[in-house]
Subunit: 184 residues, 2 copies
Amino acid sequence: MDIAFATGNNGKITEAKKILECFKVHIIQKDIKLIEPRSDSLEKIAIEKAKQACEILKNPVIVEDSGLFIKSLNDFPGTYSHIIYDKISDSGILKLMQDVKNRSAIFMAVVAFASPKIEPITFNGEQKGTISFESKGSGGFGFDPIFIPGYETQTWAENPQLKAISSHRKIALEKFAEWAKDNI
Amino acid sequence: MDIAFATGNNGKITEAKKILECFKVHIIQKDIKLIEPRSDSLEKIAIEKAKQACEILKNPVIVEDSGLFIKSLNDFPGTYSHIIYDKISDSGILKLMQDVKNRSAIFMAVVAFASPKIEPITFNGEQKGTISFESKGSGGFGFDPIFIPGYETQTWAENPQLKAISSHRKIALEKFAEWAKDNI
């Protein structure tokens, strides 16, 4: 099955292709311009963007939105993770987390599917973890060098295999793929 | 002259009333729900919101958008100042600025006016300054406790009189008022 993925982020495409190929879902990247609504809800953002993408492409499409929600920073950077990464990167987050004891964080992802016939449907994925004390590793992208999933000891950037099996995006994409095989 | 000001921020209303009353412009607060577009341009955001507000109110209206653009943080928090203030406040900015030598920053404001008959028009104001090394003062709102305008030595929160005569918002609102007396 071919499905359009509206994103300009090549890292997301690489990750999604690997995850979805064993479900026989073939991703076609569509780097189209979508208006990013401001919201604290990933779900609202993904639904709105899926509607826009479907209107432009006139075809079934998925979009994916994700973010790093750090508990002691009131869920910062949250739904603004991408923009904030571009401004202050992982070193900025580490500065904000200096002397902060509670380092709990959640990486969350929402995949939204829309087609000309079906109203947007969403699929969620999350991975709990902690913010490391220093930036480590060169794999992945974004905040991967400062995120340690679950009870592991390495960041996602240090251990991309770990990310490959446990990422928030993987969980959301697999839920979508399971649904897609019966419904598309 | 009566003019609607679409904002939920009471601090902005208080400031605008003081500034505009000597131009005989009477502000009426309208706390209506507007969709905040994501953009790095204050001007684009203000124009878009003025259009929305005018469509809802069916009357002449102004909106105002402002932000603190810190040079060494790639213009962070910029157009996201309000959201970021709610998450990490001025203490977060001070953490990000630890050991940063270049403390230059600009407070920028854009007032956009729209009416059912006139396409949105914008008026800009800016105030250059520096980020202080500690949070000082209790006047004003938002990032005022860490912003020292021009070559002064006190923050806007320490010296609200200084803000009253030199703020980015005042400059933009006065430009609007000057224009309004001949055009509305």
